[in-house]
Symmetry: C2
Subunit: 250 residues, 2 copies
DNA sequence: CGAGCATTTGACACTAGTCAACGAAGGTGG
DNA sequence: CCACCTTCGTTGACTAGTGTCAAATGCTCG
């Protein structure tokens, strides 16, 4: 009998995966993907680098020299379209790992949204280390698995036709990321510009602006400031996201 | 000094990754992610299962018993929204691996689009095998990496505001997957229904229909039949995708 | 051959993109 | 510390393009 074969090609949003659930039970604290031992292994090859707000960390097409891990700050990952426009693929926060390479080049560009401090892990050294310590792979798989889910949620967000619904989902995505939400106040912090948000959710900046205004007007959220928002009526927000209020009658 | 730490949480479309480029050089034929030895390892635990068109392979929320690898046929992966509607996350073709689990459940449902034949890999046995043969992880990582890219392209597709542009990108995505395109005729085969396509690209079935008609009318594609399409003028198709022809004058 | 679903077409409403202009904010340099 | 300037954000008016609804047709499978 033939045995399973895989090609390097696949199609729209395939989603494989595996093991992670079981492995997670293997004595790891939630919120910590690496054990002390594993972290020690990595710290030996890591250096700390800093970028100012707006600085480019690497550019799509560059040779993939290193992988990065965010200590503090926010990074955006984007692709430049032939149009000249850019599409933001994702925002990266504290503890996120980034620097995906394919076919010997970075597949996206990365730029600092705020001032950032990063661990820089040279790919060569990292590969060597991982060959000697294969269990590190499990963490990479878990990370990839999570990122894949995020990308799928991103696509799901885009199916919402109402601008307010997209913004609602966007807010929930940001909120679900600890570190982006102030634990005390319950406020959601949006370090990126509205233009960046627009690029991420696939709308015009104007629509982003109007959506925030409308969500505030209907009492779903409260806007303290350009980048501090709080969800007031979560049920209402869910209703908006669900495209519930389709027709309003006079 | 502190060493790199990672949490299990991340945010919108983070994209990590690593090693793959270098490892690919390690004596593998393109199109074959697994070596003979590795395939032998997996075949021992695999069984062959079949599903008819329309049958559900697993449902979102089910305990993840097994991972699947497609021998023949096409599968769609979808999530059921509170609306009752379903959003198709991706289509899976020959040699694709699927069955992603998170937190002890399948994250999506899977259904046969055509009659399918699959390898069924029980998760328990697979985990055991991978613990003993860690190099199998590299293949999983490569696969995940690819799927992540696909999901990102899916999100990119959604940023196109013109229906025809989305369909054009969709066609190219399908085309780029060998197995979906007949090598001889150059025709693209679309095994899924237009309604499924609509669910994937985030439009109404009516819009899908109109887009195909318009693309054919302007000479970019030729439609032989509901599910056989051929790209005639690729440059024109690219122009449509690029949102180039914004204003047409009389 | 018939029932049910998928697809197509038409008519209409409505939302978001676009353009344009104003106002606000953050950063720079004096 | 202040003034300037560039970028970002907001608002209004207008239009184009889809979603939605409804109905006719075609296809598939039993």
């Amino acid at each position: 009998m033939a045995s399973p074969t895989r090609t390097s090609d696949d199609l729209p949003g395939g989603r494989p995966l595996i093991i992670v659930p079981t492995l997670w039970a293997a004595g790891r604290k939630p919120g910590e993907l690496l054990t002390e031992e594993e972290r020690a292994l990595l710290s030996a090859i890591a250096s700390v680098v800093r970028f100012r707000k707006g600085e480019t960390i690497y550019r799509q097409g560059d040779p993939p020299i290193a992988v990065f891990n965010i200590i503090t700050g926010v990074v955006k990952s984007y692709t430049s379209l032939p149009n000249g426009k850019e599409h933001i693929v994702g925002f990266l926060f504290q503890n996120d790992l980034f620097g995906l390479a394919e076919n010997g080049e970075y597949v996206n560009s990365a730029q600092a949204v705020t001032a950032v401090t990063l661990y820089r892990l040279p790919v060569r050294a990292l590969e060597a280390r991982m060959k000697r310590h294969p269990h590190l792979d499990f963490q990479i798989i878990a990370k990839l698995c999570h990122d894949l889910r995020q990308a799928q949620r991103h696509a799901l967000l885009m199916t919402k036709h109402r601008a307010a619904a997209r913004m609602g989902l966007f807010l929930e995505m940001i909120e679900s990321h600890h570190g982006a939400v102030e634990p005390s106040s319950g406020e959601i912090h949006l370090p990126m510009t509205h233009t960046d948000i627009a690029s991420y959710v696939g709308m015009s900046p104007e629509a982003v602006s109007r959506s925030f205004r409308d969500l505030a007007a209907c009492g779903a959220i409260a806007i303290r400031d350009r980048r501090h928002i709080r969800i007031i009526d979560r049920a209402l927000l869910e209703a908006v996201i669900a495209d519930a209020n389709r027709r309003k009658r006079p």
